[in-house]
C-alpha cells in the first residue's frame, strides 16, 4: 500500500491496519530526516496548512507546526481565544473564510466531539483531527504505538495498560482503537468513576488495582486527570487519587520487572506520576515527543500526496 485509504485523518476508528503500517514506515524516513544537520525537506513547499486551535494546546500545536515547517509547508495559525469565534462566528464560516485564502490542509482541535467529521463534510480541504472533545486524538495514538514499536520491536501481543482518567480522555479512546487494530492486549485502570460504563465493549478489560495492572503489563500509558472537563467531583481528593493511582518509584520497583512508562503530557508531577519515574530510564516520554514530529510529518505528507496538481 502506497497511499492512505482515507481522505482525512479524523480518528483511528476510520483507519485500517495497513494505513497505520504505511504511516509508521513513512515516519521512519522522517525520523531520519529530523536527525540530519539540516532537518527539512522541500516536499510541501506549495501546500498551505491552517492550524485551527479552538482549545488550548502546547505540545500538539508545536509538534504540528514543527512537522509542517520541516516539510516546507506555508502555515497560518489560529487560536479561538484571539479570534472572531468570540464574536459569534460559526465554525463553518470561520473555516470557509480561512479556506478562501487557499488553504489545502486544516489541522483542527475543537472542544466538540465530531467537529472534524462535520468539517470534512462541509469544506474542501484535507482535515486532520488534533483532538475533538473527549473523542479522538489520532496522531497522539499513532505516536504512542510508534514509540511502543520502537522500544519493544512490535505492538502485536504486547500488554498495555492505560491508567487514569479514561472517561475524559481522547488519548485513551484513540489509543484503544490503535492498539487493538495492531493486535495489542489492552487494559484500563483508574477509579471506577473515571472509567466509561461500556468500555469493555471495545474489547478492553478493567482493573482497579494499580499494582496488579502494573504487574500484568509490558507498557503503562499514564494519563493526566482532566480537571477542566470535570463538572462534578469524581474522586474525594487529589491526595487520595495519588495514593491509589499515582505511580512512584517504590511501587515500580516492587513489581519485579521493567515496564515501559509513557505519558502523553502535560504531566502533573507528583499526582499521576512522580518525577523519579517520569525521568527514569524506563520512561519514554521524551521519545514520544520526538516521534510526534515524525508521525505528524508522515500523516501530513501522506494526505498532501492525495492533493493533485
Amino acid at each position: 500500500m502506497k497511499q492512505l485509504s482515507v481522505a482525512h485523518v479524523l480518528g483511528i476508528k476510520y483507519l485500517k491496519k495497513e494505513d497505520i503500517d504505511l504511516i509508521f514506515k513513512t515516519a521512519n524516513h522522517f525520523k531520519e530526516v529530523i536527525n540530519r544537520p539540516i532537518k527539512k525537506v522541500p516536499s510541501l513547499r506549495d501546500i498551505t496548512i491552517a492550524n485551527l486551535f479552538f482549545e488550548n494546546s502546547t505540545r500538539t500545536k508545536l509538534s504540528f507546526e514543527l512537522a509542517e515547517k520541516r516539510l516546507s509547508a506555508d502555515i497560518i495559525n489560529f487560536s479561538a481565544s484571539q479570534s472572531s469565534v468570540k464574536k459569534g462566528e460559526t465554525l463553518i464560516d470561520t473555516v470557509n473564510n480561512i479556506l478562501s485564502m487557499k488553504v489545502d490542509i486544516v489541522v483542527m482541535r475543537h472542544p466538540s466531539v465530531g467537529a472534524g467529521v462535520f468539517l470534512s463534510k462541509h469544506v474542501d480541504a484535507k482535515i486532520i483531527n488534533a483532538g475533538d472533545g473527549a473523542h479522538e486524538h489520532p496522531t497522539q495514538a499513532l505516536l504512542d504505538s510508534y514509540s511502543i514499536k520502537e522500544k519493544l520491536g512490535v505492538v502485536k501481543g504486547k500488554k498495555v495498560v492505560i491508567i487514569g482518567d479514561i472517561l475524559h480522555s481522547r488519548v485513551a479512546l484513540s489509543n484503544i482503537f490503535a492498539l487493538k487494530l495492531q493486535g495489542a492486549i489492552v487494559k484500563v485502570c483508574g477509579p471506577t468513576t473515571l472509567i466509561p460504563k461500556y468500555i469493555s465493549s471495545l474489547g478492553v478489560t478493567i482493573e482497579t488495582n494499580l499494582k496488579k495492572a502494573l504487574e500484568w503489563c509490558d507498557v503503562a500509558n499514564v494519563l493526566r486527570v482532566q480537571h477542566e472537563r470535570m463538572d462534578i467531583n469524581y474522586f474525594p481528593s487529589i491526595r487520595e487519587y495519588t495514593q491509589l493511582f499515582g505511580i512512584n518509584k517504590q511501587l515500580l520497583d516492587s513489581i519485579g520487572k521493567d515496564i515501559v512508562i509513557m505519558h502523553p503530557g502535560p504531566i502533573n508531577r507528583g499526582v499521576e506520576i512522580t518525577s523519579d519515574v517520569a525521568d527514569s530510564n524506563q520512561s519514554i516520554i521524551l521519545d514520544q515527543v520526538e516521534n510526534g514530529v515524525a508521525i505528524r510529518m508522515a500523516v501530513i505528507y501522506l494526505l498532501a500526496q492525495q492533493i493533485k496538481k
Binding site: H29, I38, V41
Partner: protein, 180 residues
C-alpha cells in the same frame, strides 16, 4: 515487450573496472572522498565499485552512504502512482568533502537534480561528481551531464533501459525494453 541485451555480465565487469580506475585517477586514496549511491538502484552499483576498489586496488575504508531523494523530487503530487521512499543512510557530514553520486541510469536528470538538493542537508561539499553506468543521450530535461559513464546509449523515449544486478535480479546485464 521486446527485450534486447545491451550489456552482458562480461561487458559490465570490464566497465566497472574501468570506472573504478577512473575514480582512482581523480581521487587517489579517497581520503577526502565519499561515494553516495542514489536509492534505490544506484546503491547496487556503488557497492560493487567499493568492492572492486577494495579487492583489486587495495583501497579500503572508503566513506560511503545511500541517499533517498523521494522527498526532494519535483513531481510530488503529479504522479498517478505515489512513490515509496527508501532509506537514507549517511552517518557523516559531507562538509568540504568530494562527493561522487552513483546511479545506474541517467535519463532526464531530474533525480540527479533532486539529489543535489538532498545532499545539502548533510553539509556543503567541496565538489559533487556524477557517475552512471548508462547515460541515455538526448533525453535530458536539465543541464546535467555525468563525469564518469559506463556506456552511452541512444534510445527513444518509449524504450526503457533496465539494469539488472546479480545481488537483486540473479544476473548482471543491461537490457533495452520496448513495446515492439
Amino acid at each position: 515487450m521486446v527485450k534486447k541485451t545491451l550489456l552482458n555480465a562480461k561487458d559490465i565487469h570490464i566497465i566497472l573496472h574501468r570506472l573504478a580506475c577512473q575514480l582512482i585517477e581523480n581521487h587517489t586514496d579517497f581520503s577526502n572522498t565519499v561515494l553516495i549511491g542514489l536509492q534505490p538502484r544506484g546503491v547496487f552499483l556503488a557497492n560493487r565499485l567499493i568492492q572492486i576498489l577494495h579487492k583489486d586496488y587495495a583501497i579500503s575504508n572508503i566513506k560511503s552512504g545511500q541517499l533517498d531523494i523521494t522527498f526532494y523530487r519535483d513531481d510530488f503530487r503529479r504522479r498517478l502512482e505515489p512513490l515509496e521512499a527508501s532509506n537514507t543512510d549517511i552517518d557523516f557530514i559531507v562538509e568540504d568533502k568530494k562527493v561522487v553520486f552513483i546511479d545506474d541510469v541517467l535519463f532526464s536528470g531530474r533525480s540527479t537534480r533532486s539529489a543535489l538538493t538532498a545532499i545539502q542537508s548533510f553539509g556543503r561539499p567541496e565538489s559533487i561528481e556524477l557517475l552512471v553506468l548508462i547515460d541515455r543521450r538526448f533525453s535530458r530535461h536539465l543541464p546535467i551531464q555525468p563525469d564518469y559513464k559506463g556506456r552511452q546509449v541512444d534510445v527513444i523515449n518509449s524504450e526503457k533501459v533496465k539494469v539488472s544486478w546479480q545481488e537483486n535480479d540473479k544476473k548482471d546485464a543491461v537490457y533495452i525494453l520496448s513495446d515492439n
